[in-house]
């Protein structure tokens, strides 16, 4: 060492270099990560949370399926609801568009004897709509319970409800929907 003072002067220099590297690293952008989001969920006290639904390959309760943002259209399709097909056509034409909303088709368990027409199932497949059946053997499985959970009359085997992310009912259309209702339902679904 040629300079007796160099040892002591090295420490600030090393510190300055370390600071420079740290500052460079800090200035290099924000790391990737997941932002905190507050996606809303349907509360457990909602009537929707008591409606069990299933597909051939899965099982859920209705509250679990409701979209966390935007609105969800729940279409209850009962026997003889031929007018439902036109409604489903209109909904599918807009639900997958640039301002999408969620559409879930609910039907009674075939074993219940109140199954919708087979054309509904075919239409759902054709239109790409998610179709769920309410098991007759479940606590919620009688039509008299499903309808009220959606805000419909107990006697309604068909109907439409638009619900918000927190499960609140924003609109309802009892009975087999008129084609004229489709525009209102879509407008409500888009908020």
């Amino acid at each position: 060492m040629t300079d007796p003072g160099a040892g002591s002067s090295a420490r600030p220099l090393v510190g300055a270099l370390a600071l420079l590297v740290a500052a460079t690293l800090a200035a290099c952008g924000t790391p990737h990560g997941l932002p905190s989001v507050s996606a809303r969920r349907v509360p457990a006290s909602s009537p929707l949370a008591r409606i069990e639904v299933r597909r051939p390959d899965s099982f859920a309760t209705l509250d679990r399926l409701v979209a966390p943002e935007g609105r969800t259209v729940l279409v209850l399709v009962g026997p003889g609801c031929t007018r439902c097909l036109a409604l489903l056509d209109r909904l599918a034409a807009t639900a997958f568009g640039r301002r999408p909303f969620s559409v879930l088709v609910l039907e009674a368990d075939p074993s219940d004897g109140s199954a919708p027409p087979p054309a509904v199932a075919q239409a759902c497949v054709r239109l790409g709509l998610s179709r769920w059946s309410v098991p007759a053997r479940s606590a919620s499985g009688t039509p008299a319970r499903v309808g009220p959970a959606l805000g419909l009359a107990p006697a309604d085997r068909s109907g439409v409800a638009v619900v918000a992310a927190d499960g609140r009912r924003l609109g309802r259309w009892s009975g087999a929907p008129e084609p004229a209702d489709a525009a209102d339902i879509i407008e409500e679904a888009r908020g």
Binding site: M1, L25, H32, P68, G70, V125
Partner: protein, 734 residues
């Protein structure tokens, strides 16, 4: 300290090392650090760097959870696997540790920047150890960052850039390879420095197995380059080989022991990756200079050719390092040319069936860069030997300057352009990460909050190629986030990796079969039938797939279907399609004749055998706990790849974990209420094997010390030893 004082302090310290060679290397490194500073920017990358960043992120998470991540369940790609003991994962572990301080993503980028920018230091040290003079070593080091091959997989900047291939692990291997080659060559030549040679080889194995394979082969080269000295060299090479293997055992043993439970991809068996490109294409590249100088005038290639010619011309006079460089180039050329026509000699090399031969363009480049150093040294000697009356001293200096400019101008300009272009892409991606990336991250966060399954943005060999966040395909972009995703295909040897490439993106049954619950799609792009809309941000949408998610109950169907690890997709795709999305019955597998048999069921197969409550699944930590109620015997099925290190208990009693179709794991459960617990148990022998590695390095040091003492007694007087053992002047052969 004043600025003047700082300068004086630096000058004082620089004086002892201000030899021209190290000084030139220092200048090159400083330029590189500046030119490559954009590598520090935290943007998403469109290549393998994102996969490595994901591994580092996982490692940091494990450190923060109080675990040492030399093994564990890495769930983020292809249905998960114990990636850290099936892969060269020491770089990820070390960087993950640094990540606990500065964050894993910063640590990943910092490591890349430092490794690539400072590589000339490794080349210089390695070249000196091989026996090259300071001038030759410095010339090689200065040229090393300028290489550019036709394939882009070599020891060259393109391999590591955003617009390149993101070969982060190779950057670690690239750094230690010259040291390992040089130090082993010196240890075989002189018996000196065995400890550091063993350490360097061990690190190369732990950093990058393909590079390490070449380094281990090179131990044989150091015998062949001087056959007359075989009596002295053979025991040294053999000893180094044994110690190196012992040092690497902690990496190799778990890999070899558990390899049977990983996917042997049918996509890797042949083609230019496995077999390399053949003599016609490689010969064409060599003739055109496209190994060092792709897309530009091949000045470095001509210099390398001259260096090789000089080494061959002086072969009998044994110019230091010359033979070694020729041998490196020769072996690398054979490997890079590949199995057409070198099938037989390559097959004779142990382990050759496990490596991608196209990667040996890297060692070929290293050999050629060293040959450039030999050429520069020969040119300087020729110039210096001209008598003053033929060429005056200023004229010599001028000639040397012109020669250096002529040699470097084209590759420097080309490399600078490459760096500039790369930085431009990084800046652009940074903006797009903020905008569209922010939208995508918010949607992924919603999916994570809802839970229950994997997220999918298409697969790389499908729609995911076209759905991009900025310029990064969405399946790759997802790897930057701590989520369990699919679609970034064929990065890992997970059992489901080949099957994943056949996933039908339009089928909800296929999506559900792979545990996919959420889809990220571009607005206006119709999602698969049966999914429903969840949320939208900007131009991106999140849709949900119906299904049971990652954990369900099912019956186990016998008899066990025998499957081999090399044909998983061919054998299991029909079974997957027959089972459907969340099946009520799954087929038992017999993987490689080694996965366990469990009780199977025959009745009531159309309804799930039980229900689950209170399921807590943490695949990052390799654990599941759930309470079950089974009406009949069945199994808890988890859509994570089966592996023999998964262990399960039912009500505290150990039970075998079965492999079921497609590649998932199943815990058999009897009727009634039960508590099921599933854990991934890491490979247990890492600590003793690491101790063995340390002992091997110490043994190497002890061996060198013994050789040094014996050498001093014999005064063997070998010339051509490395510069840190002898003055440079002694290195010139008489």
């Amino acid at each position: 300290m004043t600025a003047r004082g700082a300068v004086r302090w630096l000058v004082d310290r620089a004086r002892p090392v201000a030899a021209p060679g190290p000084a030139a290397v220092g200048v090159v490194v400083a330029v590189q650090l500046w030119a490559l500073r954009h590598l520090l920017r935290l943007v998403s990358w469109p290549n393998d760097l994102s996969f490595h960043a994901s591994m580092v992120d996982w490692a940091t998470g494990r450190f923060r959870a109080g675990q040492v991540p030399t093994d564990g369940w890495y769930p983020r790609l292809s249905g998960g696997l114990p990636q850290f003991h099936l892969y060269q994962s020491l770089p990820h572990v070390l960087t993950g540790l640094a990540g606990t301080v500065i964050g894993p993503e910063r640590a990943t980028h910092l490591a890349l920047w430092l490794l690539v920018a400072t590589w000339p230091v490794a080349v210089y040290l390695g070249a000196r150890a091989l026996g090259l003079s300071p001038l030759a070593a410095a010339a090689a080091a200065a040229c090393s960052p300028l290489a550019r091959s036709a394939t882009g997989y070599g020891f060259e900047p393109y391999s590591y850039l955003w617009i390149g291939n993101g070969l982060w692990s190779q950057a670690w291997g690239m750094w230690v390879a010259p040291l390992a080659l040089g130090w082993t060559a010196r240890a075989v030549r002189t018996g000196a420095g065995c400890g550091r040679a063993v350490l360097a080889v061990g690190l190369t194995v732990a950093f990058h197995l393909p590079t390490a394979w070449f380094v281990l082969l090179a131990l044989g080269l150091w015998l062949l380059v001087r056959p007359s000295e075989w009596r002295a060299r053979l025991p040294r090479a053999a000893g180094l080989g044994v110690l190196s293997v012992l040092t690497a055992a902690w990496v190799l043993v778990p890999f070899l022991v558990d390899r049977w439970a990983s996917n042997a991809s049918s996509f890797n068996g042949q083609g230019s990756f496995a077999d390399s490109f053949g003599w016609r294409r490689v010969g064409g590249w060599l003739l055109a200079g496209d190994v060092l100088d792709a897309h530009r005038i091949p000045v470095l290639s001509v210099a390398a050719l001259a260096g090789l010619a000089v080494a061959l011309a002086t072969w009998r006079r044994s110019a230091p390092g010359g033979r070694e460089v020729v041998a490196l180039v020769g072996l690398s050329t054979v490997l890079f040319v590949g199995r057409d026509p070198f099938r037989l000699p390559i097959a004779a090399l142990p382990g050759s069936s496990q490596v991608f031969l196209h990667r040996y363009v890297a060692t070929l480049q290293l050999g050629l860069v060293l040959a450039v150093g030999l050429a520069v040294e020969a040119a300087w000697r020729w110039l210096a030997s001209r008598p003053p009356e033929a060429l005056s001293r200023p004229a010599k200096g001028l000639a040397a300057g012109v020669a250096v400019l002529a040699l470097l101008a084209t590759p420097v300009r080309s490399t600078a352009r490459l760096f500039h272009e790369d930085a431009s892409w990084v800046r652009q991606q940074e903006r797009q990460d903020r905008d569209e990336g922010g939208d995508a991250a918010a949607l992924v966060a919603i999916a994570q909050q809802r839970g229950g399954g994997r997220i999918f943005a298409g697969k790389l060999n499908g729609a995911g190629r076209d759905l991009r966040i900025g310029s990064v395909p969405a399946p790759i972009w997802l790897a930057h986030l701590p989520v369990d995703a699919l679609g970034f295909t064929l990065r890992v040897s997970a059992l489901a990796a080949d099957l994943e490439t056949y996933l039908d993106e339009r089928s909800v049954a296929d999506l559900d079969a792979f545990g996919i619950r959420y889809l990220l799609v571009r607005a206006g792009q119709e999602p698969p039938a049966g999914t429903w809309f969840l949320a939208a941000r900007g131009d991106l949408q999140l849709w949900e797939v119906p299904g049971d998610g990652l954990v369900s109950t099912a019956h186990v169907l016998g008899p066990a279907l025998p499957v081999g690890r090399d044909a998983l997709a061919a054998e299991l795709l029909p079974v997957l399609r027959a089972q459907g999305g969340s099946p009520t019955a799954v087929r038992l597998l017999d993987l490689e004749g080694r996965s366990p048999a469990v009780p199977t069921q025959r009745d009531h197969l159309d309804v799930p055998p039980g229900t689950l409550t209170g399921t807590r699944l943490d695949l990052e930590a390799g654990r599941l706990d759930t309470t079950t109620h089974f009406r009949t015997a069945g199994a808890v099925v988890v859509k994570a790849n089966w592996h023999p290190r998964w262990q399960a208990t039912v009500d505290g009693k150990p039970v075998a974990v079965a492999a079921v179709a497609p590649t998932w794991l199943a815990v058999p459960v009897g009727p009634g209420h039960h508590h099921v617990s599933l854990r991934y148990r890491p490979w247990p022998w890492t600590p003793p094997l690491v101790a063995l590695a340390i002992a091997a390095v110490v043994a190497g040091w002890w061996w060198s010390g013994r050789a040094r003492r014996a050498g001093a007694r014999r005064a063997e007087g070998e010339v051509g030893v490395a510069a840190d053992e002898a003055p440079a002047a002694l290195e010139v052969p008489a």
